[in-house]
């Protein structure tokens, strides 16, 4: 087991190196650079930064250099543990990402757990009550969850809660806690705001998971060992929970790897709409402003999370499913 983990971990730097090249090429692919976007934004609000001022800034921040030089500069800094400077914020990228990692992970974990809590019971119910009213009910709900873009759902629900109850659910904290240091009260305040984005994100994810769970379970339900179990007089409940559910969960576990980065990026637009201060809007801003070192660094962190997620799901799978061999 230890050598298996070690092997997987040793590959990480190589993978990150490949990803870093890929990311850098991709984010540099759109025409223009930070300065062109920046000047266009300023032009849109009526101001008048001229070409000469832009060029001066370009030279100062090395944007006039060819692509490969810019890449080498970035990597050099990365190796020294410096993610570079965000031109948008004029702050070190490391600091920006670190500040927002907490709320991001909290939201991702919360909606992840929530989606499992919704998906597994409803999947079991749908499979055991196949073609019943309840099954169709969950099915319709799932289709809605998949079909409605989550940012749209966010807008609808925000408007609904404002009109019906006068609640203002924009943001991750109440104004009085926004700048306050972390405390128990601040944490509780965050939970008060976290539930709605958590549910919205969980709905999309759970829809898919429920379908997977239902299908897997249905595959198992007709197997001979089930018939044997029933014939021996096992109660339906303990029979289902003890055998097919355990098997049906395996494919779900293997999706964790894909699911973790998806949760981070899935919150991108929802977080922008709901004004949550997590990594999502930061990435969106960085990408649309072509603040390349910031977007590059965030994407690299995403890649790292995806790799770790995959390793984690492999390990979990090995743990829940003894049939899996590590060699």
């Amino acid at each position: 087991m230890a050598s298996y983990i070690a092997k997987r971990i040793l590959v990480i730097p190589f993978l990150l190196f490949v990803f870093s090249i890929l990311i850098f090429v991709l984010i540099q692919a759109p025409p223009g650079d930070f300065m062109t976007t920046y000047s266009a934004i300023l032009a849109g609000s009526g101001s008048s930064l001229d070409a000469e001022q832009l060029d001066a800034m370009r030279v100062s921040y090395g944007l006039d250099q060819p692509l490969h030089i810019q890449y080498v500069r970035w990597i050099e800094k990365l190796l020294r543990g410096d993610m570079g400077l965000s031109l948008l914020y004029m702050l070190p990228n490391k600091q920006l990402i670190a500040e927002r990692l907490g709320p991001t992970v909290a939201l991702a974990l919360f909606s992840f757990i929530l989606s499992w809590l919704i998906a597994i019971p409803s999947g079991i119910y749908s499979a055991t009550h196949k073609n019943s009213f309840g099954d169709y009910f969950f099915m319709v709900l799932n289709y809605i969850g998949v079909a409605i873009p989550n940012f749209f759902l966010a807008l609808l629900l925000m408007w609904f809660f404002y009109v019906k109850f006068g609640w203002n659910l924009v943001g991750l904290f109440s104004p009085e806690f926004e700048a306050a240091p972390w405390s128990w009260a601040k944490f509780l305040d965050m939970l008060k705001h976290l539930w709605l984005p958590g549910i919205i994100l969980a709905l999309g994810g759970s829809a898919r998971l429920t379908r997977v769970m239902r299908a897997n379970l249905l595959d198992e339900m007709g197997k001979p060992y089930m018939v044997t179990g029933r014939a021996k007089g096992m109660s339906e409940w303990s029979l289902v929970m003890k055998y097919p559910v355990r098997l049906a969960i395996n494919p779900l576990v293997s999706t964790i790897g894909n699911y973790i980065p998806q949760l981070f990026s899935g919150s991108l637009i929802v977080a922008s709409v709901m004004n949550l201060q997590n990594i999502g809007p930061l990435l969106l801003q960085a990408l649309s402003m072509q603040d390349m070192y910031l977007s590059g660094s965030i994407l690299l962190v995403y890649c790292l999370l995806a790799i770790l997620g995959t390793i984690l799901s492999d390990l979990l799978l090995a743990w829940v499913d003894p049939r899996i061999r590590l060699e």
């Binding site: 759109p30 025409p31 223009g32 062109t36 976007t37 920046y38 000047s39 266009a40 934004i41 300023l42 032009a43 849109g44 609000s45 009526g46 101001s47 008048s48 930064l49 001229d50 070409a51 000469e52 001022q53 832009l54 060029d55 001066a56 030279v59 100062s60 921040y61 090395g62 800094k77 993610m83 570079g84 400077l85 948008l88 914020y89 004029m90 702050l91 070190p92 990228n93 490391k94 925000m158 408007w159 404002y162 203002n168 924009v170 943001g171 904290f173 104004p175 926004e178 700048a179 977080a271 922008s272 709409v273 709901m274 004004n275 949550l276 201060q277 809007p281 969106l284 801003q285 402003m289």
Partner: protein, 641 residues
């Protein structure tokens, strides 16, 4: 009616200040939150904090009361111009109507007789927000240690140079006087100085030298500075210096503005608190500002910001309010009474203009058409502007050409403002027939000499307004005169690139530079980049010394001549030149105006019903050089309870 002009305005106001200043027996008063600090010994008394003769700021409606926190929305750190607009922290400011300038942080700015020497007279005893003196050394520090410091390379500011290319001579004869000496006359100095604040993240022309010297290599060890810079991911001390001088990124940096930073613009809520040393008082001697604190809340998207404004979570917002939300805002404002909605239409020009590329050379036949005045006029009068105004601008604004509004000193008269804006497709058809475009295909479209359809691309960027809808409506209107309009949506950066390489046939953009034709970067000046697609070919010609591109036509030449000349003549002549410029521009029909004076650009103001001294609808000049709403003098806004 004789219109006020800039210089008369400056002089009148300077005299006013002198007159009021001599009656300085007023007892000065301060905000309660400052009295506490004075009592505890944290701050000196108000009379010692103010200059000997503070600037008197006349409130718009009434003397206000102290207190309150004003909430305003921003869209993140790249929205630093939101701070700039609110503070309007410059030595000289434009008045609320935009027709004159007045000294803001100084006593006066005066020219000599032939406009070659400009003297800044500063306020004796004025102080930065940390209590250090604000003197001529702070302007000299900008000029000597920043703008002309060999290692620092700021972009060139054209108004600081003589005709022969040499730089203006700047001297400080004493602590409170700075003198700019030019070789040639220049009359635009006050207007240029009004733009020398923190705009666009640039360095203003007055800096807290005592504080900033610790980040400057002339005064502090360069290795130590570079070391410090590296720690914060900067390449070198220059970047560190430019960063440390930005008040919205560094709360320690002393300011002259009415409020000073508590944290930074990168924080989810950017808080500011009153500057205890602010140089302005109201006529009763109350030190301004009235409002204690500002909370600039970051919204991750304009939608979230608009939502908050509709819910009444914002006290004063014009920037980022989407014009299309005007009906919803009106409805909610009537229902809840939490806020008023005010309209501050654009200062001049138009909010949608169709620019025609005079030097479009991908097809010589089209270039011939675009250079034909009758053709451009026919395109203009075949557009049904009223319909566009109804559906794209909610019925607000008027059909007009890109010239200043009628209250401007440069207004060329109604005859030109509305020239070629009548909807007359019969006449347009006649004109097109007469120029030889009289053959049509089976669908009724006119044919080029080679037998292909007359087809004109209308390019736009889906960024700033609903120009896509407008382009569609123009194309629809052109069908009526047998011209096929093809609407092309471009991504922003791509559009800019295409414009520079002369690939656009026509484009839709706004014309927001008519209020200030002789400063900044006017779009009708062919030399401006980024400008509009009208005369890119002429710019190439000018930049390449006549090797590439096309020689500017007589109109463009005269426009450039006017712009250069106006910078060196007195106010009377300057006005006349401005009018002539806009007569040429409207008559030429190069940039066809569609609709103007709408509140499209930051012109829908959501104002807390409790907020006083905020300009009424249509009384606030709304333009970037005026730093709207800064020209409404935010320091005299106040909460009624």
């Amino acid at each position: 009616m004789t219109r006020r002009n800039l210089f008369l305005g400056i002089m009148l106001i300077s005299i006013l200040f002198l007159a009021v200043g001599s009656v300085s027996a007023i007892e000065y008063k301060e905000a309660p939150m400052l009295t506490e600090k004075v009592n505890s010994g944290e701050l000196p008394p108000v009379a010692e904090r103010l200059p000997e003769e503070p600037n008197i700021i006349e409130p718009l409606e009434e003397i206000g009361v102290y207190g309150g926190t004003l909430r305003r929305g921003i869209t993140g750190p790249n929205d630093h111009n939101n701070y700039v607009r609110w503070m309007y922290d410059s030595l000289v400011r434009y008045a609320q109507d935009g027709n004159s300038t007045y000294p803001q942080l100084i006593k006066s700015l005066e020219p000599n007789e032939d406009y070659t020497v400009w003297t800044f007279n500063m306020l004796k005893g004025a102080k930065w927000s940390d209590g250090s003196p604000f003197t001529s050394a702070d302007i000299m520090f900008w000029f000597e240690d920043y703008y002309t410091y060999p290692e620092l390379t700021p972009a060139k500011l054209p108004w600081l140079y003589n005709d022969d290319g040499s730089i203006v001579e700047v001297t400080a004869p004493d602590e409170y006087t700075v003198v700019f000496t030019y070789k040639d006359p220049i009359t635009t100095v006050p207007m240029e100085v009004a733009a020398m604040d923190n705009r666009d993240n640039l360095v203003p022309m007055f800096l807290p030298s005592a504080y900033l010297k610790q980040f400057h290599a002339k005064y502090t060890d360069v290795n130590q500075l570079n070391e410090m810079a590296k720690k914060e991911s900067f390449e070198n001390w220059k970047q560190l210096f430019e960063n440390r001088q930005a008040p919205y990124r560094n709360p320690e940096r002393p300011v002259m503005a009415a409020w000073m930073s508590v944290n930074t613009i990168n924080d989810p809520i950017y808080n500011l608190v009153r500057n205890p040393y602010y140089v302005g008082v109201d006529p009763e001697g109350n030190q301004l500002p009235y409002i204690d604190n500002l909370s600039l809340v970051t919204y991750q998207s304009p939608d979230a910001l608009n939502m908050a404004a509709i819910q009444g979570e914002i006290d004063m917002q014009d920037r980022h309010i989407i014009m299309q939300n005007y009906p919803v805002l009106m409805e909610e404002s009537e229902k809840t009474g939490k806020y008023d909605v005010r309209l501050w239409p654009t200062f001049g020009g138009v909010d949608a203009a169709l620019s025609i590329n005079y030097y479009y050379d991908k097809d010589p036949e089209y270039m011939k058409l675009f250079q034909n005045h009758d053709f451009r006029v026919a395109l203009s009068i075949s557009i049904d502007r009223e319909e566009i105004i109804e559906s794209a601008f909610l019925g607000l604004g008027e059909a007009r050409q890109p010239v200043p509004r009628s209250t401007s000193i440069y207004y060329p008269g109604d005859e030109y403002a509305f020239k070629y804006t009548e909807f007359d497709q019969a006449k347009a058809n006649e004109m097109l027939d007469a120029m030889g475009l009289d053959k049509k295909d089976a669908n009724g479209f006119r044919l080029m000499p080679d037998g292909s359809r007359v087809m004109i691309e209308i390019a736009y960027v889906p960024q700033f307004a609903n120009w896509g809808d407008i382009a569609q409506m123009i194309a629809e209107d052109w069908r009526g005169v047998g011209i096929e309009g093809v609407v092309v949506e471009n991504e922003r950066t791509n559009h800019f690139a295409k414009r520079d390489s002369n690939e656009l046939m026509t484009e839709i953009w706004n014309e927001d530079t008519t209020g200030f034709p002789f400063t900044g970067a006017p779009k009708f000046d062919p030399r401006t980049s980024p400008g509009i697609c009208v005369a890119t070919g002429a710019r190439t010609w000018l930049n390449s010394g006549g090797k590439e591109g096309y020689e500017p036509n007589d109109d463009f030449k005269r426009i450039m001549e006017i712009i250069d000349l106006a910078k060196r003549v007195g106010p009377e002549e300057q006005q006349e030149l401005g009018k002539e410029l806009f007569r040429i521009w409207a008559e030429g029909c190069y940039e066809i105006g569609i609709a103007g004076l709408t509140p499209m650009v930051q012109g829908v103001g959501v104002v807390n019903s409790n907020l006083g001294n905020v300009p009424a609808s249509d009384t606030l000049g709304n333009d970037w050089p005026l730093r709207t709403p800064g020209n409404g003098r935010t320091e005299q806004f106040y909460f009624k309870q």
